[in-house]
């Protein structure tokens, strides 16, 4: 060995190559290791860029043009579309409609919280109730629209039920009456999304350790006290998150009113109007501006929420 070593040594090399050899192999493998993850990441990134970022960039571009969705020439019009979004009375009306859904989402959260709390205590057939409450969320939005369309049409299921219990004075045209229509549609929305809130609350409540309840009971706390001082503080971040989702959710209501009324009779929401502007009125530029505005509102609301409650970890987005 001692004889051979110098012979293998390359001229001018100060370090014994046999000592470096393993190290070099490691570097090579490290190099490959460094590339491989990127190759894996490349696939989703390519998909994401192609189907999300490029269209969004296009949307920003369209929003400053007068494009009608067809013409090969797009003229730059500056911020005119954005001005229209906030000045045309018809465009402002849709924000008013959103308020109905915002109001409804508070009802929805209260109901969800109520059911989640009850079902976190000892209840018979607990899983059955959970299933029943969560089930509407699993149904396709189009199906829900059609189900309710039949249910609330004049002489439909709701009217018959009200007649059967002698409440015929309450009966009205649930979607035909412009005073009632937005309450009706918001109620359908509550029916559909309450299950999701409910499951989120239930999961959060389950993280409260059982001993605390026992301790509280020993101290003479009743169920209301337990809810007020144990459960609510424990699930505060989730409730906060739900508020945020409610605000952006009430602006982006779409399926239910679109299927049930096609946005007619004063039930037009922001998203329905955006779609109509783009595909019926051939104002793709204006519609893109509306979409950008919606995106901006959601971002701002999220940012405010994070500023207001910075200490709370919200990771359920």
């Amino acid at each position: 060995m001692a004889l051979m070593t110098p012979a293998r040594r390359a001229p001018g090399r100060a370090v014994d190559p046999s000592a470096r050899q393993p190290g070099r192999r490691v570097t090579a493998r490290r190099g490959r290791d460094r590339v491989v993850p990127y190759l894996f990441v490349l696939a989703p990134i390519v998909l994401l860029v192609t189907f999300t970022y490029v269209p969004v960039a296009n949307m920003f571009f369209y929003s400053v043009t007068d494009w009608d969705g067809l013409d090969r020439v797009k003229n730059f019009v500056g911020l005119a579309n954005y001005v229209d979004v906030f000045t045309e009375p018809d465009n402002l009306r849709v924000f008013v409609v959103s308020l109905y859904y915002l109001g409804a989402s508070f009802v929805q959260m209260a109901l969800a919280l109520y059911f989640a709390t009850i079902l976190s205590f000892r209840v018979r057939l607990k899983n059955l109730w959970k299933g029943i409450l969560f089930f509407p969320y699993l149904i396709n939005g189009v199906a829900i629209g059609l189900i309710f369309l039949n249910f609330i049409r004049p002489g439909g299921g709701l009217d018959s039920a009200l007649l059967a219990v002698g409440l015929e004075s309450v009966i009205r045209q649930w979607t035909g009456d412009p005073e009632v229509i937005n309450y009706t549609l918001a109620a359908v929305s509550v029916w559909r999304y309450m299950g999701l809130n409910f499951v989120m609350f239930l999961g959060a409540i389950a993280s409260v350790p059982g001993e605390i309840y026992e301790a509280a009971e020993l101290d003479g706390a009743n169920r209301w006290h337990q809810f007020r001082h144990l459960i609510l503080p424990a699930i505060k971040p989730i409730v906060g998150l739900s508020f945020i989702l409610a605000i952006s959710g009430s602006l982006s209501v779409f399926e239910v009113p679109y299927i049930m009324t096609n946005g007619g009779n004063g039930s037009e929401t922001f998203v329905i109007r955006t779609i109509k502007m783009a595909f019926e009125n051939n104002k793709v530029g204006l519609a893109s501006a509306m979409a950008v505005v919606l995106l901006a509102i959601v971002l701002v609301v999220t940012w405010i929420q994070r500023r207001l409650v910075p200490e709370e970890r919200v990771d359920l987005t």
Binding site: T50, D68, R72, V73, E88, T175, G176, M260, G264, N282
Partner: protein, 449 residues
């Protein structure tokens, strides 16, 4: 264009760039349409051969095999033709519009309504000089620009209203109403005789049936220049003009409770059967609706004769007028590689297929036949063919229309009138005032800018 592609490749990951490159291609070919130059398109001399793709909005005729028969007969006439791919598209307007942002939108297709006249040359191959086409075909003007014609209608429709003969007769109404007021009292009589039915059905929920109302414009006054005149009329909804009469009738009929009780729950498919079985008195629809209603009547066990067709309730000097116009116009994709066969299909469809007669419509040919079941109606009315826009102003009406936000061709505009008539949120006069204000503003904006 090539430059754009290479710079992008340098910046973005290879795979993405390939897709972007495609997008750049689609956008890049702007303005240089018709790269294939002048192809010989005379079926007599160019020798139609090869494969052909045809887009159609009549999905019902694709499903029931009618189009298979058309294709078979077409191939008999032109044996060199290969595969004819008929693509029925349910949401024709929406889907075709999207496809038109690429080059791949069939060889033969109907021109979607949203294409403005000055955009025609970007997408479609000129079929000939307008003046020459007019000697052979009717209603080619709307899809023409600067003296060139881009599309030929497959069938002509007249605008009246489909009604249930039995319902009206049993209510003691035997003559066509000659004024909107008389029409309203006829509907009152229908309502009195049949309290449970909807004397007039708006099909509000589906929206598009309401757009038919716009087609009466010009028929009320019998003035072929009516829509052209609207481009300078700052108050079309006044002085007894067509727009005022049409929208006034819609407002009144709804306000007086002569329509369905809850318009938000209407259903188009069901409405056909309801008309046939006497649960609906009348629906304001073009003559294209007649065969569908007759089919529904037959399916419901009634006779086809129960469906009648009446003119819009307005007369000028004792004569009814009905607007006659083309349905969708067939055109050739400017990017088509087989324009010869495409032209052969269009000519064959208009001359040989018998499509217009089977649809109980007027033939697009100048000397074409009038179908039997429409003859009685035609005898009572004077047909009005709307005059084309003067040269250089082909897009003026649609520009003003879009700018005003009214969009006379959209369902929304008339849905709003129905909403107001039901709730009383705006009086009829307020509706007209708002419309006039928006319209005159748009005229100024378009002519000023």
């Amino acid at each position: 264009m090539l430059l754009t592609r290479t710079t992008r490749t340098a910046v973005v990951v290879a795979a993405t760039a390939a897709m972007l490159g495609l997008a750049a291609c689609g956008g890049g070919s702007a303005g240089e349409g018709g790269e294939s130059g002048a192809q010989d398109m005379d079926p007599e001399t160019c020798g139609p051969a090869g494969d052909l793709t045809v887009l159609t909005w009549r999905t019902d005729l694709v499903e029931d095999g009618t189009f298979d028969d058309y294709v078979a007969t077409f191939k008999e006439a032109y044996p060199e033709i290969g595969d004819v791919d008929i693509q029925g598209i349910t949401d024709y307007e929406g889907e075709v519009k999207t496809r038109m942002s690429t080059d791949d939108y069939g060889d033969v297709l109907a021109i979607p309504g949203s294409v403005a006249p000055d955009q025609l040359s970007q997408f479609f191959e000129p079929l000939g000089e307008l003046s020459e086409m007019q000697t052979q075909y009717r209603w080619v003007e709307p899809e023409s620009f600067e003296g060139l014609s881009y599309g030929i209608p497959v069938v002509g429709n007249v605008m009246g209203a489909v009604y249930n003969v039995e319902v009206f007769e049993s209510a003691g109404v035997t003559d066509f109403a000659t004024t909107p007021e008389e029409f309203l009292s006829d509907l009152e009589a229908v309502k009195a005789a049949h309290p449970d039915i909807a004397p007039l059905y708006t099909n509000y929920k589906d929206g598009w049936p309401l757009t038919a109302w716009q087609s009466y414009a010009g028929g009320v006054s019998g003035d072929p220049e009516y829509t052209n005149g609207m481009t300078t009329d700052e108050a079309p909804w006044s002085g007894g003009g067509d727009m005022e009469v049409i929208d006034g009738l819609l407002y009144d009929v709804v306000a007086q409770g002569l329509t369905e009780a809850d318009p938000t729950t209407t259903n188009w498919e069901q409405s056909k059967q309801m008309l046939a079985t006497g649960q609906i008195g009348v629906m304001m629809l073009g003559s294209w609706a007649i065969p569908q209603m007759q089919d529904a009547a037959e399916a419901a066990g009634e006779t086809r004769d129960i469906i009648g067709y009446m003119p819009f309730p307005a007369q000028v000097d004792g004569t009814f007028h009905a607007v006659a116009g083309g349905d969708y116009n067939l055109a050739i994709n400017v990017h088509s590689s087989n324009k010869c066969a495409a032209r052969a299909w269009i000519d064959w469809f208009n001359h040989e297929s018998g499509f217009s007669e089977s649809q109980i419509g007027l033939s697009p040919l100048v000397d074409g036949p009038v179908p039997e079941s429409l003859q009685a109606f035609i005898d009572q009315v004077e047909l009005v063919e709307m005059a084309p826009a003067p040269e250089g102003q082909e897009s003026l009406f649609s520009d003003i229309d879009t700018e005003s936000g009214i969009l006379t061709t959209s369902p929304d505009y008339r849905m709003k009138i129905v909403d107001d008539a039901r709730s009383g949120a705006r009086t009829k006069q307020q509706v007209f005032d708002d419309l006039n204000a928006a319209w005159s503003e748009a005229i100024q904006a378009v002519s000023g800018g």
